[in-house]
């Protein structure tokens, strides 16, 4: 009789270093066999610390920050990282240059994000090597392509986006970080037919889809775990003070789940739709995200053999 296998899944930490550090520590904390970070790892904003000759100025979270010493500057950098942004020290001239030049700005942002990702991978390697806890991380629709390469270079962090991996002798995990199209034209999106074909290609590599864990970044359509604010001309629709929600999940994801009926399907993408949904025999889970407050939302999934024996949503 096989021992229970416990997996901790989280998603959409969007650059929050606090959430990432909690994620890395979650293995020991929950006594989990594996950690899975299911996409949207990168943050959305680079915050310049403008060097004015021994004095550094930054503005984030609607407030101005001033450092008078290198130690204070380092403290602000840490604060920026903990809140899901990327600090970068720039001279006033460099700041003006990046402000005016889009190409240079994009190149600088990519460089800063990639460096931060490599730094995180280093932390993961340092804390997890030799622990026996496996760590899976894959990109989501908000993560640029250069992230994959950085993830693949690690000997501790495993990136199986677009493929499958063995969790146990009996259970495999299939991974897809792409989403259906969004109003934001994010880096990894596909139209539904292409997405379904892409996922089918991945699932074809599984020995037994019914016994598998599907890690598909976008949740299945019309399941309650895919409800997001309705948009009209880029603005959220409200009525009577309420945000109008509508399903924005993927029909492709729903189709493959209905077709293959895996043991469990893990999702993210829609931060405000924390919850679970049973589709046939498959339990679909979106743990949601509260990265902006440094709260790591996740789910503990336990299976024994090929049988799902429990799950628990957590907020660490």
């Amino acid at each position: 009789m096989s021992a229970p296998y416990k997996l901790f899944y989280a998603s959409d930490i969007h650059g929050s270093e606090k959430c990432f550090l909690k994620f890395i520590n979650a293995g020991k904390f929950y006594k989990a066999n594996a950690l899975v970070l299911g996409g949207d790892i990168c943050g959305k904003m680079v915050v310049p610390l403008i060097d004015r000759g021994g004095r550094w100025e930054a503005r984030f979270l609607g407030r101005d920050f001033v450092a008078q010493t290198p130690a204070e500057c380092a403290e602000i950098e840490k604060n920026i990282r903990m809140n899901g942004f990327y600090p970068v020290i720039l001279s006033p001239e460099e700041h003006a240059h990046f402000h005016e030049n889009e190409a240079a700005r994009t190149e600088m942002i990519d460089r800063v994000v990639l460096a931060a990702m490599k730094r995180w991978i280093g932390i993961a390697e340092e804390r997890l090597r030799g622990t026996g806890i496996r760590c899976f991380m894959n990109a989501g629709n908000d993560d640029d392509g250069y992230i994959d390469e950085a993830l693949r270079q690690s000997d501790v962090v495993e990136n199986h986006d677009g493929g499958v991996t063995d969790l146990t002798d009996e259970v495999q995990m299939a991974v897809c970080g792409y989403s259906n199209t969004t109003p934001f034209d994010s880096p990894r999106e596909m139209a539904e037919p292409q997405l379904e074909a892409h996922i089918e290609t991945i699932l074809a590599k599984l020995k037994s889809p019914r016994d598998a864990v599907f890690t598909l970044h976008v949740p299945p359509y019309n399941t309650g775990i895919d409800a997001a604010p309705m948009l009209e001309n880029g603005k959220v629709v409200t009525r009577g003070g309420h945000t109008v929600m509508n399903p924005v999940g993927s029909t492709a994801v729903r189709n493959v789940i209905e077709r293959y009926q895996p043991m469990v399907a893990l999702h993210g993408h829609i931060h405000e739709s924390r919850g679970t949904k049973q589709i046939g025999r498959t339990l679909c889970i979106n743990p949601g995200s509260e990265y902006s407050e440094g709260v790591l939302r996740g789910v503990l999934v336990t299976f024994k053999g090929t049988k799902l024996v429990g799950h628990q949503l957590v907020q660490a």
Binding site: M45, P48, G234, T276
Partner: protein
């Protein structure tokens, strides 16, 4: 200028803003029912020396810190769930759950109460107004029937079922309906105020006697009222601060609840500005409306008239039930359309709490279920309607149960449930506000409300003021002869205490049950050290 650089990514959209928060909270505060309560109960001699204006202003000042505490918490933690989220993080999940449990149980009760108001104060008055206008005794009798326990309970049951069906078919449908009804109700209230402003006590008295005479059968109903009261007739007394403070319970029944948007905090991005403007803004706006409508009501009828009307037992003078300020305004006109607008708009105000309490209850039930503190079935969302069917049905059924209890048991036909919300929820949340900047230092410092005065977090200062304010309100409830809760009649104290303590019992019982199934509830909330 220091400009930050954004990546191309999802999620950078505008959502519900200050205006939306403001509308949502004003809707919940319910100005008209507040004025109705104030004139039914404040001048009737129970608070000799009370000043309605000062009581309203003092109540606004007393509850403002609580409103600001919730607004700042909502800014620091822009999540849906209100105190369940705030107190859990500021102190311990146990206290967050108990505060939420306490509020939610009373929310179930207050699904039933406003449903009762529709028949008791809304439709009953509308039918009587129309009965007088059309000279129809049958309609007047129907009005009387709607104010009976059976009429109240049956009308309320139908209303709750209608709202449950509306919510099952989606919050969006409710929003469409509510937006229209809110505009009608607001315009109606303004017209009511104008009608009252056009009259003086002399002309109002004549109009009232003419109106009431058609169903009391008395030529001078007001004289019959004062005669019936005898030495208990209300006469103006010199200003009394203590009585004015005690009478704050009545404006509190509406002004204490400018915090409804805290429970939908997750929908409001840019929460700092929206909540900081929307919550206290709706409180001050509603307070001004209470003062204005109070002014025109007193201008039209005078304190003694309103006091005697509130003091007399309606059956003693064939009144059937005591008219509210709205019905009094309707009695001043012979224009049928004006009577209809005044009557219908007031009826629309009477139950305004109901749908928002259903929403609050269902959201809290969902949050508990996702954390393992309620059966998972409750969190299921219906695919066809996209609504949490089970949670809505549970809320509606409990609301109907409490409605019948309210209608038939006079012990519960009081405002004593608000006492529980003050002590078991708002007070605990105030304590949470005091400690939050110290227990969640990073979260507080990273929030847009990390303000300090002389080095002390503003949130902590407001927490102290809020706790003091809630203590004062609790004192007022316990000394109010009409609140239904006091040390001399302690039954409702026991009920309030029971609701509060049952939260602890439920939490630990659920924890035990889940542990037997291999689930450690504590893990749902335990924070992983990042370092």
């Amino acid at each position: 200028m220091n400009v930050n650089f954004a990546r191309k990514a999802t999620g950078l959209v505008r959502q519900a803003g200050a205006k939306d928060v403001f509308v949502y909270n004003v809707n919940f505060i319910n100005i008209a029912i507040g004025v109705a309560f104030m004139f039914l109960f404040m001048p009737n001699g129970s608070y000799p020396g009370v000043n309605i204006y000062i009581s309203t202003i003092l109540c606004t000042i007393v509850v403002l810190p609580t409103s600001l505490v919730y607004a700042m918490f909502a800014s620091a933690m822009p999540r849906s769930g209100g105190e369940y989220v705030y107190v859990s993080r500021a102190t311990k999940p146990l206290f967050g759950f108990v505060a939420s449990w306490n509020y939610t149980i009373w929310c179930f009760f207050y699904i039933g109460v406003p449903a009762a108001f529709l028949g008791k104060y809304g439709i009953s008055a509308l039918f009587r107004e129309l009965g007088v206008s059309f000279g129809s005794t049958a309609m007047t009798n129907w009005g009387n029937w709607f104010s009976t326990p059976l009429g109240t309970a049956l009308t309320g049951t139908v209303l709750i079922i209608i709202f449950a069906i509306v919510f099952i078919y989606g919050v969006s449908l409710y929003m469409r309906i509510q937006n229209v009804l809110f505009v009608i109700a607001s315009i109606g209230l303004a017209i009511t105020a104008v009608e009252l402003l056009r009259h003086t006590p002399a002309s109002s008295l004549a109009a009232f006697n003419h109106y009431a005479g058609t169903f009391t059968g008395k030529a001078d109903t007001y004289k019959a009222i004062t005669t019936n009261l005898g030495s208990n007739a209300v006469t103006p007394a010199p200003f009394d601060l203590k009585q004015t403070l005690i009478a704050m319970t009545w404006p509190f029944t509406v002004l204490g609840f400018s915090i409804a948007s805290a429970y939908i905090g997750g929908e409001i991005k840019g929460a700092n500005r929206s909540q900081m403007i929307g919550m206290p803004g709706s409180l001050i706006y509603s307070s001004i409306w209470l003062l204005l409508v109070s002014f025109v009501t007193l201008h039209a009828f005078g304190f003694s008239f309103l006091g005697n009307l509130g003091a007399v037992t309606p059956g003693n003078v064939n009144l059937g039930f005591t008219p509210t300020f709205s019905e009094l305004a309707a009695s001043l006109t012979h224009h049928i359309w004006l009577v209809l607008i005044i009557g219908v708009s007031f009826a629309l105000w009477t139950y305004a709490w109901l749908p928002i309490y259903i929403l609050t209850c269902t959201r809290n039930l969902l949050a508990w279920a996702l954390d393992g503190l309620a059966p998972a079935k409750i969190a299921e969302v219906n695919e066809r309607t996209h609504s949490p069917l089970t949670a809505i049905v549970v809320s509606a059924v409990l609301g109907i149960g409490f409605l019948w209890l309210y209608a038939y048991d006079s012990t519960f036909s009081t405002i004593s449930g608000f006492f529980g919300q003050v002590c078991g929820t708002f007070f605990i949340t105030s304590i949470g506000a005091i400690v939050f900047p110290y227990t969640q230092k990073d979260m507080f410092e990273g929030s847009p409300v990390a303000w300090r005065v002389a080095g002390v977090p503003v949130l902590s200062i407001l927490g102290v003021l809020s706790a003091c304010g809630m203590a004062l309100i609790a004192w007022a409830f316990l000394h109010d002869p009409q609140s239904g809760i006091s040390f001399s009649q302690p039954f409702m104290i026991y009920v309030n205490l029971g609701v509060f303590v049952s939260g602890f019992i439920y939490f630990y019982a659920t924890k035990l049950i889940q542990a037997r199934q291999g689930v450690d509830i504590d893990l749902a909330f335990a924070e992983i050290p990042p370092e």
